[in-house]
């Protein structure tokens, strides 16, 4: 019951929404298509659902070629960002729609609708109209409606995008739980990395119609394959490192190359170095590999403290420490502090975006 996309290209006029994209969403897992708006992820989902024809490439659902199968015959469940509930139908009529158009028996429709309303915890609301429901409830109706005809795969297009933060988090946890119960192959489109990380077994990071990286949430966070992924997933600082033989320097201060950073010959070459805010160590005294900086701002967010530090060049670096670490150093805005960079990820500067 997997979804396989092979070399799919889709253009809208001169705009290439999907550029020779291939990936697999494995059976029974939640796969996310993660990327900024305009990266082509929604287009890809619509191609898979049969709502847009691809200009080239194939879509396989459950191993069979579905590229030219009509949307109504594909057996996919699709949940839209703005719910797309039928406003003139009750909740029960909405959920039962996919069964009624398939000419199922009335008693069967009624039983299946009741079963799904229980599953999405909306038992008592069968006779309400969509306008009488909250956003979170509407989205659960949309989910029940998509699941009712027992689709082979479930496609979710920014399903929580129109909801406020608290409801979004609740629904996310609930959806993950639901998936653990029904184990349906699910493809989720989102621009929210937290959503992708929390819900998926596998993340496909997209940018400008192309795939940047495919991997587990940990993979793409710890081992970003491209500068785009490094910058898009989690927050990060981008520093320029000058290489001179085996010596490396940031803003004129010699630093140690962390393991895994590509060693290059030749002088004057530079690489882009991505350092996550928590991968920085702060010291009060200078030392090998330490870069001086001024404390600009300290934001105390409970256990976590965020600091804005200004390097001599004026570049601002965002650092995250625990409250203990900051209190131990006794830092205040205007203080001088030394940074040591740990566990950075480097890319040749020419590769930068």
């Amino acid at each position: 019951m997997s979804i396989e996309v092979r070399h799919v290209t889709k253009r809208f006029g001169g705009f290439v929404a999907s550029d020779d994209v291939s990936f697999v969403a494995p059976e029974g897992q939640v796969t996310s298509l993660l990327g900024p708006s305009g990266s082509g992820k929604s287009t890809l989902l619509r191609v898979i659902a049969g709502l847009e024809p691809p200009d080239a490439g194939e879509v396989y659902i459950t191993g069979s070629d579905a590229t030219w199968v009509r949307a109504q015959d594909r057996g996919v469940g699709f949940v839209f960002q703005h719910y797309a509930l039928f406003r003139h139908m009750t909740v029960a009529e909405n959920v039962g729609f996919g069964l009624v158009v398939r000419k199922q028996k009335r008693s069967e429709v009624r039983a299946r609708v009741a079963e799904l309303l229980r599953l999405v915890q909306l038992d008592g609301l069968a006779d309400r109209y969509p306008a009488q429901l909250s956003g979170g409830q509407r989205q659960r109706v949309a989910l029940a409606r998509a699941l009712a005809p027992r689709p082979r795969v479930l496609l979710l297009d920014e399903p929580f995008g129109a909801l406020d933060a608290r409801v979004r988090e609740e629904l996310r946890a609930w959806l993950r739980k639901l998936h653990d119960e029904v184990h349906m192959t699910t493809l989720l489109v989102t621009h929210d990395q937290e959503e992708a990380m929390e819900l998926s077994d596998r993340v496909v990071v997209m940018n400008r119609g192309k795939i940047e990286q495919v991997g587990s949430p940990d993979d793409i966070y710890d081992q970003p394959a491209t500068p785009f992924v490094a910058e898009f997933i989690g927050s990060t600082n981008r520093l320029e490192v000058k290489l001179d033989g085996d010596r490396a320097s940031v803003e004129g201060h010699r630093v140690d190359l962390p393991p895994g950073v590509l060693q290059r010959d030749g002088s004057g070459e530079s690489v882009a170095w991505y350092v996550r805010p928590h991968e920085v160590e702060l010291r009060l005294v200078s030392g090998r590999g330490a870069i001086p900086s001024d404390v600009v701002r300290i934001m105390r967010l409970g256990w976590v403290v965020k600091l804005e530090l200004r390097l001599p060049s004026g570049r601002v670096v965002l650092v995250q420490q625990t409250r203990e670490q900051v209190d131990e150093l006794g830092l205040a805005p205007g203080d001088l502090v030394y940074l040591a960079l740990r566990g950075a990820k480097a890319f040749p500067a020419a590769y930068s975006i």
Partner: protein, 273 residues
Amino acid sequence: MRRPLGTRAPLLAVRGAALAYLLAFVALPVAALAREGFRGGAAKFVAALASDQARAALGLTLKVALAMAAVNAVMGTWIAYVLVRRPFPGRAVVDALVDLPFAIPTLVTGVMLVALYGPQSTLGALAGASGLRLMYAPPGIVIALLFVTLPFVVRAVQPVLLELDVGQEEAALTLGASPWTAFRRVLLPPLVPAITSGTLLSFARALGEFGAIVVVSGNIPGRTLTAAVLVYGEIESGRPQVAAAVSTALLSFAFALIVTVDWLQRRARHAVL
């Protein structure tokens, strides 16, 4: 209802002027007509309406208006659907074309139609050869009315269609509905109030149409003479009694339709929200 504070006194003037205008230009003429119709008492009013000529004219008017309304309901919805949901090159031009019938003097419409479908034209001759008389016959009146009232349904349905999320139709498709089922069960129900109000408006307009009909119908009493043309003829021949009675009948009918349309439009607005 909210309004800015401290505007009470000017408000009376604002409201008063608008109401006085409506009274002077709409309500008074209507009242004058009704008074004229009942001048000789109710019995004479009924007698005037019951005359063969008046009955035939009113009957014909209702018949052609009904035929027009039925075609308009379907084609107007169809055109609105194509304009909103099936974009094509040149859509802007076609969209503007829809309003053209409102801008053309209806007499000119009549002349155009006679030129196109009249017995002397190729099309008219072709139709005539197969036994169908277009001009100077009821079909010609329906054609003229269709031309004149084209914008009503299109323009009533279009904004509602624009408001409706395409996602609903796509959701229906992914749930296994054919495009036709999706149209019928998902798109059409929310459009019904708009289609109905557009159709009724065009119907009301058709009841009173004069210019286009007077050219294409031939105005044969008892056969192709519509109510509005009859009214004109009666006034010209110095018989205002029949004219006033028929006019009053047309007017009451139109008024009832407008009230219905207004009610439907309120409902349609609710459906969209």
